[in-house]
Amino acid sequence: MTIRLAEAPFDPGALLSDFTRGRTETGAVATFTGIARAERGETAVLELEAYPGFTEAEIGKIADQARERFGLHDLMILHRVGRIGPGEPIVFVATAAGHRRAAFEACDFLMDYLKSRAPFWKKEHGPAGERWIEPTAQDHADRDRWS
């Protein structure tokens, strides 16, 4: 299991290749890549702040839940911090399981958690100034699907 914060841009394809390599009993790998949107010019830069140590530990707790709940063979979560430009990946989640349903669902579960509960703070910088982004009602509703 890998949980990591990244200061620099990353290549989701390379991560997927590494994650998939050497697996002979895993029938399914699902991935999700979140990408910073330009919002038609309204967002020039996204700034992501974490609490190093605490953030990885909190994500680790939910990752353990996901492993148990969906019987995962393995998982990987990589999350950007710092300043992120439009088009750059923010988050990469990969899940490995015996069959596809568990891999898909675990990926969905982990993303719903990351959007509304993981210790990150997100600020948009654009021509109109800057603003902090809080989870939306939809984000909370998405997470509540799993309880």
Binding site: Y51, G53, A57, K115, S116, A118, P119, W121, W132
Partner: protein, 79 residues
């Protein structure tokens, strides 16, 4: 001296990210910070603000030692 950390909008509001503060409990720390900066004091007890001591979430009050790290965590959003 406890080490106090602010994250997200709390940091912008206060104008600082980390400070050493003399306080024996979370409630004493909140009162001290509110005395210096009323807007920050209010924000520290705002909706969804959680507190971690030495990187573990706590509910309610808790005692602080001189080496405690206290983090105020406003509503979180990743991805």
């Amino acid at each position: 001296m406890a080490r106090v950390l602010l994250f997200g909008p709390l940091r912008d509001l206060a104008g600082w990210r980390a400070r050493d503060v003399e306080a024996g409990s979370i409630s004493a720390l909140r009162a001290l910070l509110a005395g210096e900066d009323a807007a920050l004091g209010e924000a520290l007890v705002g909706p969804g603000v959680q507190v971690a001591v030495d990187q573990a979430l706590v509910r309610g009050d808790a005692a602080l030692s001189t080496r405690s790290e206290v983090a105020f965590l406003p509503p979180m959003s990743g991805g």
